[in-house]
């Protein structure tokens, strides 16, 4: 409903976006009838909710193609992009975060902290531009942007054009994730149960892995859920940097063209995915921490 209200606030009638400047009044009236913007708001709203319940996202005002298949197309770029970026971020951030917490007073522990501090201050798009400059413009290793028209049918081409975007997303997520992993690890290190395990003769690394991992993972996983949702919705910037035909660029285009069905469709699908991710994160937390089971979830 919030979605619907916000979209109707966009100034300008979508019918105007469809037609050129020189359209006659009759043409405008016909276009308004076609997109339904001549109907009262309440009718538009009930229509919208009814179709949503049947997963009918309508057809685009501008290109006149159904919204749902188009979203599916776009997801084939955005999903691999965020998922691989996210996995790579975990691979980078978790070990580095643990090391930087355990080895606070060594030079590499400090370096990791400084670099992550730098990482959260860098805007995604600038990092992207820098990587393009280094790897595409100067070294010519990867393409600077774009995606093959045939999509994944041209697998090699599609995969190479996603390498730099994935690395960019991964570095940005890793920088903020690392801080959470580090502080979770610090909490574990300071805990009584770890001291007890050590006193009972367990080795430092063994105690950390056996007792610390499970305890430290709980707060980190809720952050992981938020980060995944953010990077999924935030893909709009990365897709612009690398000129990728993903969900984010669809949203950006749809907003500028006042293409309500497209905007609604993208936001609806992303909201659904974000809720699913949140739910999954909750579930994993309960699996890891028995204390959370059977307890009403309060955020």
């Amino acid at each position: 409903m919030v979605l619907f209200a916000l979209l109707r606030l966009l100034p300008g009638d979508p019918a105007n976006a469809l037609l050129g400047v020189g359209a006659t009044d009759a043409q405008i009236a016909a276009a308004r009838a076609q997109v339904g913007s001549d109907q009262p708001l309440l009718v538009q709203f009930t229509d919208f909710v009814g179709k949503l319940a049947r997963f009918d996202l309508g057809t685009s005002f501008v290109s006149n193609t159904p919204v749902l298949p188009e979203i599916g197309n776009r997801l084939s770029v955005t999903l691999p992009l965020t998922i691989f970026g996210f996995l790579l971020a975990i691979v980078i951030a978790v070990p580095l975060g643990i090391v930087s917490a355990v080895k606070v007073r060594t030079w590499y522990g400090a370096t990791i902290s400084v670099v992550s501090q730098l990482g959260i201050a860098i805007p995604v798009f600038w990092l992207g531009i820098l990587l393009v400059t280094a790897f595409a413009v100067n070294l010519h290793i990867f393409p600077s942007g774009g995606f093959p028209l045939q999509g994944w049918a041209d697998f090699g081409q599609a995969a190479t054009s996603l390498v730099l975007p994935v690395v960019t997303i991964a570095l940005v997520i890793a920088a903020s994730l690392l801080r959470y992993v580090r502080s979770a690890t610090q909490d574990v290190i300071g805990s009584d149960y770890l001291r007890t395990a050590r006193a009972l003769g367990s080795g430092y690394v063994a105690a950390l892995l056996r007792h610390g991992l499970r305890n430290g993972a709980v707060p980190v996983i809720s952050i992981l859920g938020i980060e995944l949702a953010t990077s999924f919705l935030g893909a709009v910037v990365i897709e612009k940097v690398y000129a990728l035909p993903g969900l984010g660029s669809m949203l950006l285009l749809a907003i500028s063209q006042r293409d309500y069905p497209d905007v609604q469709g993208v936001l609806f699908v992303s909201t659904l995915l974000v809720l699913l991710i949140g739910f999954a994160a909750d579930l994993v937390q309960r699996l890891i921490d028995p204390r959370l089971r059977g307890q009403v979830h309060t955020a």
Partner: protein, 282 residues
């Protein structure tokens, strides 16, 4: 035990240098921003050189694709970024603190409803909310600031609610209530002074987030048009000329990162002052 003693000493040292580094970095940007009000090396709109000149003594960061001085544009970017950060945090704080305190005081039902609303809003990235709000108005500096303020308010509201609730359970609140204090006076005299340090640290962090988000909006073409254009706009323009004028793709980014790191360090330093028991916690 030696390890414990060391961690007790380390944060104080770390706190002082982060605070000073933060003050220096932010201070430079504030000075530059103030300077642009009275003087810039060149007129920001005048064509003062050839197109896409490299850095030289005359043009420290070269010229843009129309021949305008690029260093001037970066200096003005400092002013824009500070206006955006301060404006967005002010709006976010006004809405967020009000709603947060309201939720903390409200009945169970209203509190739950507000808390759920904050959580839903937080699940959406600042940038996405701002994109929609900007699209609903028009691209200008004012609408960007408003959009970011609204987007930040949910985070601030949630934090305010949590810390205010914590303070509300304390004995001196019960004492004040018993003494017959009205709830507005409890908020002003007891709640706000106690939650202020935590909020101030968070405002500094939100400032950095707002500056990055505005740059991203400008980069996407949804930001303020020139002459109010930010570093994000400069970078977007520079991406097209990255082959011929690489410096333009670096300089605004460095300016942006230095400001954001500055406020983050400042926040770290402030946090260590506000709460010496908290160390290295994000």
């Amino acid at each position: 035990m030696t390890a414990l003693a060391e961690t007790a000493v380390a944060p104080a040292r770390r706190g002082s240098w982060t605070l000073w580094a933060g003050i220096v970095l932010v201070g430079i940007h504030v000075l530059v921003a103030l300077l642009t009000l009275v003087w810039t090396p060149y007129d920001p709109t005048a064509l003062v050189g050839h197109r896409l000149e490299g850095p030289s003594l005359l043009h420290w960061a070269g010229t843009d694709r129309l021949g305008r001085d690029f260093f001037t544009a970066i200096m003005i970017g400092s002013r824009i970024a500070l206006i955006v950060g301060i404006g967005a945090v002010a709006i976010g704080a006004a809405i967020g603190v009000t709603l947060g305190v309201l939720a903390a005081f409200a009945t169970r039902l209203l509190d739950d409803a507000l808390a759920a609303a904050f959580d839903i809003l937080i699940a959406f990235p600042t940038l996405l909310i701002a994109m929609l709000v900007v699209a609903a108005t028009e691209a200008s500096l004012g609408s960007s600031i408003l959009a970011l303020g609204i987007a930040l308010s949910a985070v601030i509201a949630r934090l305010t609610r949590i810390v205010a609730k914590r303070v509300l359970t304390l004995d001196f609140i019960t004492a004040a209530r018993t003494a017959g204090a009205s709830w507005p006076s409890i908020v002003i005299e007891h709640i706000l002074p106690n939650i202020w340090p935590t909020l101030a640290v968070n405002f500094a962090l939100q400032f950095g987030i707002a500056v990055i988000a505005e740059a991203s909006l400008s980069y996407l073409g949804l930001g303020a048009p020139p002459p109010n254009s930010s570093w994000g706009y400069l970078l977007q323009a520079a991406q097209g000329t990255v082959y011929t004028a690489p410096i333009a793709a670096f300089a605004p980014g460095i300016a942006l990162v230095s400001l954001v790191i500055g406020v983050n360090l400042l926040a770290d330093g402030l946090r260590d002052i506000a709460d010496p028991t908290r160390r290295g916690v994000v």
